[in-house]
């Protein structure tokens, strides 16, 4: 195992930028107007974190992840989380081989590079816990054997924030395992027009003697736009993005201010700061910089910090939201510290 922290060369930077551009272009041929989400997906991939996408149904979360997986030439598996799912359904189990009369390991869908955990909050807490443990440790124990998960390993989970009946809300400790939680918004009117235009252009696909109406999933180009080595290069490039002491001071200040805010019961953990710096480095790379700047912090603060804050009941009762409180924290940056 080797670690990389050498300064990124400008040629490597240019190559990585070109690779990211190709991935974005490919995703853009299928998914309309989700540039920020694509950026967050690549940030998570390049910085080795996991991503939780929160959004109402119909915002192309699954299509986006499927398109990305096909574009970047990585193993992909999708698990639809349901109430009756068992940990062995995702991790794997030992099965009896009747030919040899011995148990052999059947690996679950977790053994892939890119795992889409669709509607993660529908599964029972023991299944969520099993997956989150695998996410954290990047290894899985089946029976008495421990297996290392493939590298890179990225979990992209989705969650519907509106429909809560029959779901198990992820507690703060488990949400903390996700480097970023991105909240998807509805597309703009122009973007929605383009979505409808593209959908109307889909045809009929003949299959055996019958035919099916095509969906966006049927027109995905399965040829990748880059290789795994380019992803590794991008990960190395992210790791060599410069983080100044001033930027670290900014991150420490914002994290401390979340803990001191009068409306916050539980502020951000040190892991929040680590995630923010990791994600900022990946964002800097994607914006063609070899160093992070405050804009990266402000752009990623909501995704990296908001799910790690818990408001006081009194503040929630007054109608305050986590987003409002975080905005207050960010606006107060540089001002006098609270007593």
């Amino acid at each position: 195992m080797t670690t990389t922290s050498a300064p990124v060369a400008s040629s490597d930077l240019a190559r990585t930028e070109e690779y990211i551009r190709r991935v974005r272009e490919r995703v853009g041929t299928v998914v309309v107007g989700q540039d920020v989400v694509v950026e967050r997906l690549l940030i998570a991939l390049f910085s080795g974190g996991h991503l939780l996408l929160q959004g109402v149904p119909g915002l192309a979360k699954t299509l986006l992840v499927s398109t990305l997986s096909k574009s970047i030439d990585l193993g992909f598996a999708r698990v639809q989380f349901t109430i009756d799912l068992l940990p062995s359904d995702i991790l794997g189990s030992e099965v009896l081989d009747q030919r040899t009369n011995e148990f052999r390991v059947r690996k679950g869908p977790t053994f892939t590079n890119l795992l889409l955990a669709d509607e993660i909050n529908r599964a029972a807490p023991k299944v969520q816990g099993a997956l989150l443990e695998a996410m954290q440790e990047r290894k899985v124990t089946i029976g008495t054997e421990t297996f290392r998960l493939p590298a890179p390993f990225l979990v992209i989970a989705t969650q519907n924030p509106v429909e809560q009946a029959g779901t198990f809300e992820l507690p703060e400790a488990q949400l903390d395992r996700f480097m970023l939680v991105h909240r998807l918004d509805y597309p703009s009117a122009d973007e929605e027009r383009e979505v409808l235009r593209r959908n109307a252009a889909l045809g009929i696909q003949r299959q055996d003697k019958g035919a099916i109406v095509q969906t966006e999933f049927d027109v995905l180009d399965s040829r990748p736009v880059g290789s795994v080595s380019e992803i590794v290069a991008a990960m190395e490039a992210v790791n060599s993005i410069h983080v100044s002491d001033t930027f670290i001071d900014h991150v420490v200040e914002v994290v401390h201010r979340t803990r001191a805010h009068p409306d916050v019961e539980l502020g951000c953990s040190p892991r929040a700061g680590i995630s923010l710096i990791k994600a900022s480095r990946a964002r800097a790379l994607m914006h063609g910089r070899s160093y992070v700047i405050p804009e990266d912090l402000y752009a990623l603060a909501e995704d990296a910090l908001l799910h790690r804050m818990r408001l006081k009941y009194g503040s929630i009762a007054e109608g305050k939201t986590g987003r409002q409180v975080l905005d207050e924290v960010l606006r107060s940056m540089g001002g006098e510290a609270r007593a």
Partner: protein, 295 residues
Amino acid sequence: MRLQVAACALVLGMLGAAASATGTHGDSAQWRGPQGEAQAPRSPSGTPPSVGMPARWNDIVLSGTELVAVSADRKAPLALRIVAARAHGDAFRYDFEYWGLEPGAHDLRSLLQRRDGSSIADLPELRVEIRSVLTTEGAPLPNAPRPAELPSLGGYTTLLVAGAVVWVAGLIALLVVRRRRRAAELATQPRVRSLAERLQPLVERAMRGELAREERAQLELSLVALWRRRLGLEETRPAEVLVQLRAHPEAGPLLQKLEEWLHRPDARGAAEIPALLAPYRALREDELDGPKGAR
């Protein structure tokens, strides 16, 4: 066999008891008292009927036109029903049934009237006696009321008023104490410096190249805060503020140079910093919003 005999004896006994309870004296003819007044015959045992039990007085011949029973009101001590009225020469022969509701002697005339409405003054006294089965000795009596004792504080109302006074006094005391404590805290707290007061020493030191590491972060964020205020972006989401500031013709170059100085690994542009910061050297609070039209 012995069981059947016992059952027959029990039935006969019950029938006999029922007959005696109704107080029927159908075979008795008109009976008069010592003064010649009509009197209800007593039961075979010689005791008058008790309260609530029916009694019969049969074959009483009363002169005059036919009599009918008056409907008894709720307060009447007696209820009377004429079971039969038969002509008896110029008079009528009656069978009465009555229930006593109050113990004592009563006159049945109070419950009779002529069918034709004529007077009943010519009727003899029809006296019946009703006995009470309750003894006057040992009857349950209500408890005698005891005089109430006044509470020590002078009554419930006084207690409530005293409680309210104590509560209000406590509230006022609490508010006063909190206010004094808050005032004391404010007095001991260092005064919150304004943005201009915070920015000025940072700019001075930056221009002299004496800015400490932790002060660099303060300088950068203070300048962001200054331009956010100057461009009226206080309500804009912080993530969008920096994008807008970087695009601004005056704030953009300043922030970009600061970023290059503070965040680039080679700290490029340090020589240009004094000139860039010169306009922010001696800003007063009223100058923070900048010249008109800065927005």
